[in-house]
Amino acid sequence: MSKIRPLDAALAAISDGQMLAVPADYAGVAMEATRALIRRGIRQLHLVTLPAASLQADLLIGAGCVATVETSAIGFGELGSAPRFTGAVIDGTIALKDATCPAIHQALRAAEMGNPFGVLRGIIGSDLLKQRPDWKVIDNPFATDDPIVLLPAIRPDVALFHAPLADRLGNVWVGRQRDLFTLAHAAIRSIATVERVQDGNLLDDEAMAGATIPAFYLEAVALAPRGAWPLRLSGHYPDDVPHLVGYLELAATEAGFRRYLDDHVFYRGAA
């Protein structure tokens, strides 16, 4: 079966209750796919962001798709905080695994390497450690009196991301966005949406192969032009800032958030 599939078919491997890992805004967020998942009514996701997130996490949380989120930050930078995430944490309607960026990197890299845990300096003395009983401090066995943190590996059921280009075999070119390699390697299966699908084999092109995730990591690839919108795809299009500002205004209230979903996810707004 071809790995290039229509979006909804490509997303079939994502089911309720799974651990879903997604990249940060700079690396390529599969927003069109996220809207499709919300339309499908996905529930009880354990969402892991590598390492931070904005609209994608806020939409999934606000739409009731998320049971647990592990993240180092969810926010909209200078535009403001993430209203649905913030509200859900204050109301206690989601479980939060508060992390720090490199902890999520190291935990996913541990899974990438087939290791049960990752290793990270720092953290000791941060209150994060009190909130993360799953993080353990051991004595570095190669030194004396040198505490160091171990983090359990994160092995997502599915990684979902957006990239500029794929070939028909399902090889996905990601340019500088090496975080997508980490996700694809760490997750049991990966699903990518792409701006463009081309003929030929990206692995045969010396200039492209080094930045291409081989198809054997990918469960499915779906064509989704401007699939990161309203977030940016680095080198291709910028954030749609007016749209994001509009989102933040609406999502300040539950009713406004529902209107946003109707207009931009369920397409049952003014029409």
Partner: protein
């Protein structure tokens, strides 16, 4: 020369703090640190490498978001910047919650890389655009990253300064306290005292923050302002009148 703007004073304070660095990394949405880094890069023939997180055109990383953390772990990043919803008198920063963690009054985005970089980057410059007793507190509600560590905890860096619209504090790691280094033109020690929630050290005479030297100001208003306009158009418009 036009009168010096407050932002230009701050940029110059940060420029002096990063002197001699080899690689300065700047987080997202940090126009003043970015301008200071570009200024340092332009000023010296062996100026620092500058990497802006999340701006592929202005960073030197090609191994994903992890490369900032990896290269900090390798000891290659000399300067980084953090802010905090709260910053306390012991240099602790809070990027997570106000109130009790289990039932917070306010939730912020999260700790980002602070709980690691605060340990690993030799010179962390704290930057807070609101100087008030609400933000500069005696004790943070939640320690996202601690200002100091016990001697057995591996730590290569930490805060060296806190820069606000009113003043420049240096941080004394051994005492785990801030010291008032200088007060910016137009502000007073009393104003700083009134608006700071933590106790800090100071000498009897606190000097005013020096104005940027003319050559620095020329460079800042010329090539650096032009560079900034491409990345921070709003900031460059307001401060440098470049549109």
């Amino acid at each position: 020369m036009d009168s010096v703007k407050p932002e230009e004073v701050l940029i110059d304070v940060v420029r002096r703090l990063i002197a001699g660095a080899r690689h300065v990394a700047v987080g997202a949405n940090s126009p003043i640190p970015a301008a200071a880094a570009f200024l340092a890069e332009s000023l010296a023939p062996d100026g620092p490498d500058v990497s802006l997180q999340q701006s592929p055109e202005h960073n030197l990383w090609t191994d994903g978001g992890r490369e900032l953390f990896d290269s900090a772990g390798q000891g290659r990043i000399d300067v980084f910047f953090f802010s905090g919803a709260q910053i306390d008198g012991r240099g602790n920063i809070n990027l997570n919650v106000i109130g009790d963690y289990a039932h917070p009054k306010t939730r912020f985005p999260g700790a980002y890389g602070s709980a690691y970089l605060y340990f690993m980057v030799p010179r962390i410059i704290l930057f807070r655009t609101e100087h008030s007793r609400r933000t500069l507190v005696e004790m943070v509600d939640f320690i996202s990253a601690p200002g100091t560590s016990p001697p057995n905890v591996f730590r290569r860096g930490g805060p060296i300064a806190l820069v606000t619209p009113l003043c420049h504090f240096s941080f004394d790691k051994a005492r785990a306290r801030f010291r008032l280094q200088s007060v910016h033109p137009g502000h007073s020690v009393e104003e700083v005292l009134d608006n700071t929630g933590f106790a800090f050290d100071r000498f009897e005479d606190v000097p005013p923050t020096p104005a940027p030297p003319p050559d620095v100001l020329n460079l800042l208003r010329g090539p650096v302002a032009a560079k900034m306009a491409a990345i921070y158009p709003k900031f460059a418009g307001e401060v440098f009148n470049i549109h």
